[in-house]
């Protein structure tokens, strides 16, 4: 088969699998939500529920799509969702999509900048550590990095706020911008420094260590000896030969890491009251706002799957060995050998 056809097939299969998994997930969430102890009517109407008579209650249920058996409710929900109507947010009393749309941008900016910075720094740190393997500086970085990774990121955030906002007063402690300064770029950057620091400190070492270990494996291969006998310097070997060989692995790690980094973004948002979907998901979990939570889950799923498709493309571009035909050939042989 020609390569383009296979690529299209592969992407189609991915999207199909994604749709199926979202469907399974939405069914699970929907049933769970309806089994939950909290009454959605209560959280939407508040105490007014108690003074309603039965006809009013029925009308209210119908308005929120809570009438009929659960299966029927689900079918209704999914039919509406296909048309872009994800139901009402129970807390904000407006369509769930409208609540989320203005916040996605903030999350993407914070998460995206953190993601790029984390990996840029991780690669630099890993290269540095691999070149100075087992020297005192490598060991110190390893110890400090491991300790930093195990500090809960919310605590790190709180301590940073305590030091830099409360006591020193250098940086703002919450929000994405001061009131009336939404177009002030400098103000926005100021608000992002602390959340970014938290995210970088709590993610950096995890990935730097992975990349470092990959590089150390690579340094032990024989072509390094050849390059050395040819007269290449240490940095030349690592940067030109080893790093190129490790690059596809790094891209794969980057693709897998997206849910992890997003998780970190959510925590950072919640700590710093940054208006994004992470902070929103925490509040909606507190208020049992399932429609909103479900939409957030779906949106995150879309982000993760689309980025892993992008990673596949990038990998093929930088490494000819990852071309689809050969990957599938390898897969076939490995399947037979494992049986």
């Amino acid at each position: 088969m020609n390569r383009k056809g296979m690529l299209a097939e592969k992407i189609l299969r991915r999207i199909l699998w994604f749709l199926i998994s979202m469907l399974i997930l939405s069914v699970a969430v929907f049933y769970f939500a309806r089994l939950a102890p909290g009454d959605p009517l209560q959280s939407y109407y508040g105490d007014a529920v108690e003074s309603m008579n039965s006809t009013e209650l029925d009308a209210a249920r119908a308005r929120l799509g809570l009438d009929g058996p659960i299966a029927l409710q689900y079918v209704k929900w999914i039919a509406n969702a296909a048309q872009g109507d994800f139901g009402l947010s129970l807390k904000y009393k407006m369509p769930a999509l409208d609540v989320i749309t203005p916040l996605i941008g903030n999350t993407l900016i914070l998460g995206g900048v953190a993601y790029v910075l984390v990996f840029a720094l991780a690669i630099i740190l890993a290269l540095f550590c691999a070149m100075h393997e087992d020297t005192w500086i490598d060991r110190i970085i390893c110890k400090v990095g491991t300790a930093a990774y195990y500090i809960p990121s919310f605590w790190l955030g709180v301590v940073l706020v305590l030091v830099f906002s409360v006591n020193l007063g250098w940086l703002p402690s919450s929000g994405a911008y001061d009131i009336g300064k939404s177009n002030d770029l400098l103000n926005r950057i100021q608000h992002m420094i602390l959340p970014l620091t938290v995210m970088i400190l709590s993610h950096l070492w995890y990935y730097a260590y992975m990349i470092r270990n990959k590089l150390l494996d690579e340094i032990r291969k024989e072509y390094v000896l050849l390059a050395k006998s040819k007269g290449c310097t240490k940095s030349e070997i690592v940067l030109k030969h080893c790093f190129r060989n490790v690059a596809p692995t790094i891209v794969s790690i980057m693709a897998i890491s997206i849910p992890h980094v997003l998780s970190g973004t959510f925590i950072a948002e919640a700590v710093f009251n940054y208006p994004g979907i992470g902070a929103l998901s925490v509040t909606s979990a507190k208020y049992h706002d399932y429609n909103l939570l479900m939409l957030i889950v779906m949106i995150t799923g879309v982000m993760v799957v689309s980025s892993s498709i992008i990673a596949q493309f990038v990998n093929e571009a930088i490494d000819p060995r990852m071309k689809l035909t050969e990957v599938s050939a390898w897969k076939e042989t490995s399947q037979t050998s494992s049986l």
């Binding site: 998994s21 195990y150 809960p152 709180v158 849910p259 998901s281 925490v282």
Partner: protein, 301 residues
Amino acid sequence: MERNFADQFVVVGSDYKTYETEEKKISFLERLKGKPILSIIILSIIVLGCVFAEQVYNHDPTSFYLQNLNEPPGSEFYFGTDSLGRDIYSMIWYGGRVSILIGLLGMAIITVIGVVYGCISGTANGKTDAIMMRIPELINSIPTLLLILLLTSVMGSQNILKISFVIGVTGWCGLARIVRSEVRQIRSSEYVLAAKSMGGGFFHIMRKHLIPNFVSTIMFVVVSSIGLSMSMESTLSFLGLGLPVDVVSWGSMLSLANKALLSNTWWVIIFPGVFLITTLVCITNIAYYFRKETNKRESYL
């Protein structure tokens, strides 16, 4: 004649025993080399302090000293009091029990689900295995925090068991994957086949043949999952979705951190956090000891 033989011939290895006794005299300190002693000592101090909290604390951790709200650290309240007037020093020892219990429960749930699921998937035929491995993939494609938020909001009010369950149910995927790949390597070996043909059930084979083979590989993940469960509990409590404030744990103590920021009472934030992190770092150090050293070849650089 016989005596002459003994004189004439040198018996090879006759002094073997003396060498052996000398070699056996490895000093106690040398045997400890390479083991995470410092971490074990600190961790046991913390754990013992929590277990014997009644003897260690000097105030009642559950009572409110309303005259001493937000008292800074001093001779009466060693670590100060929080905004509800509770003694932080006493609460740390008392609350450590809950935190460590959640860590252990979370680890137990993660280990049981991960090992059983991984073994079933590893021994199953190709198609079942492929489908079974899709489920962790599906769970992993959603950020863990979001899944936990979903589950906690569905579960309603929290207690220790519920929160460990939520943490365990969302955390087993990585372990299951490792177990599965280990099982696939040994599942067609002779002893497993022999046990099967003699009528050994799945759980028998799993206990006697599979688990002993991969237990050293998964030790790292299992031990570090204690730390991950503890830190997840504190994160949830901080976000207001974990334990309520009246159930004392290191996490629920930190849920007062936002209030403490407003009143600038640093001791409310720092002390529980330092205890939590010290425990986490010790557990991780011990976990790293279990990780198999990768075969180190000489670097060509």
